[in-house]
Amino acid sequence: MSALAGLLRKEVYHILRDRRTLIVIIVLPVLQVIIFGYAIRTDVDHVRLAIVDPAPDTVTLAIRARFNAAGVFQDVALVPRIEPLEDLFRRGAAQGALVFEAGFAERLARGLPSGLLIIADATEPNTGSIVASYATAVIQGYQQEAPPSRGAVHIVPSVRMRFNPTRESSNLFVPGLMAFVLTIISSLMTAISLTREKETGTLEALLVSPLRPWQIIVGKVAPYLVVGFASVVGVIFEARLVFHVPLRGSLSLLLIEGIVFILVSLSLGILISARTSSQRVAMMGALIGTMLPTMLLSGFIFPLESMPWPLQAISVVVPARWFVLVARSVMLKGVGLAYLWQPTLVLLVMALVLLTASTRAFHERLDQ
């Protein structure tokens, strides 16, 4: 046991004394949450809105007031004619426009159809359609509350955005971000620190010692398990504090699932290092083999549902896909193990298979 304690202490020294890596481990998760939370958002804010109102009347003023009150739109121009719009859109001064017909209130009062045009800049298709649907929602809101005497029967479709009613994208990012940070710390760091020992020849010295392979592996990865766990807690805490991301389910369930996912990532790191002999190759292996799939095929950034089936099929073997699913469900839906036993089982099986495979790869390497 004292041999293992010595190994653990040694690994802690490695982590603490490698300043650059230490900074990466500490700063990266914090920074990632900020970057992903603020910069890469799918919800739209401060939409620059141009309004064309040839003859302002009570109704157009009321609708304009609602747009103002929505908090999403920002009036950048109020013009009487439609012609200047072209220039506003081209310059990017306006992202959306609201065009009223002349005599809007009068036609409405007489029960005639009143034209209202919503224009959105669809250079970025997502943003465009979000702007359009926001605008539609505002108008529907007005129609609903307007006195029924005004005009004919209105069909008001009701849309509810469940689980993320305000469509806060940071809610969606945080679970994926946890997977990403864990992959970096567990897979990448483990792969690098093991291949470093290969390069310096110290691994050989450990292998010819009476240490058992499992002791070497535990001594190597346990500190990273602790670091990974700490950063999960850190990310959850920061996400709650800065973005008020809800945690509707059980924190302990989330943390346990996190540990299983860390084990999976650690095993991948060991596997990668067993197949490579230089830190550089190990780093590339970890980037391509674990971080890229975690970014692209976990549903973290790009929804899996809209991917062609071959990619969806590949995503099944990406551990992060299952962890992201679990983390989202626990955090946003607040569901428990009763609903999540399937992805949990997948993660457990992956952890078991990969741990076995990586321990064996470690053994086999000795027989080369």
Partner: protein
Amino acid sequence: MTGDLAIDVQDLTRRFGAFTAVGGITFNVRVGEVFGFLGANGAGKTTAIRMLTGLLAPSSGRATVAGHDVARDAERVKRDIGYMSQKFSLYEDLTVRENITLYGGIYDLRDRDIRDRSARMLANLELEHAADQFVRAIPLGWRQKLAFSVALLHQPRVVFLDEPTSGVDPITRRQFWELIYDAAAAGTTVLVTTHYMDEAEYCDRISIMVDGRIGAMGTPAELKRDFRVSSIDDLFVQLARPSGSSQEIRRSGGQTLQETRRSGDLS
């Protein structure tokens, strides 16, 4: 038979698929002997050492190290041997003392023993002033001597040195060999590989591996006399050359040049 033999190897063989890296070598090393294990790159030295240190299972044949069978008793072999490679196996981001403590713990030494032995070791090496310096901060020659001493910390009966002096200056190499002699005088058996033929002459006995077999074995003086060469260097070149005229090579033949190259990758 193993009474005064530290290493006893009988017909030891290791195959990787169809390729034979070590093809039935037989030799022994007496207790307290300094045995030079020579051979060109890819001749099978490293594979042989990996089997003797319990890292690699033999395909056939038998070897005992410090009285333990390497195939059946690898764990006990590991307790009784020390090992130092050309990469000198110390952690550069740990201090001298931390390295000593780490390896002492790995070999299950008691704290008091670790303290006493490291004090003696640092005094011998005149490294007391550097005990709390990082290993990367001390000169290469000192690091190598330190690595050797750390490999002896648990007082192994046999110590394997894999090209321990590569890349150091002649003076440090000389000092290093003094440490080897000290260890041998204290009863530790030393098996050392080297590419420096002047070092081969320092050994009590040497063997030269060629294509997975032992091409020549004996004391340096015997070998020079039997092969009618003036130095081990000449003998080595004569034996190790693939198209050499030596009878030993003819007997070990059957391997193509390509296989020899492949063995270079493996070992």
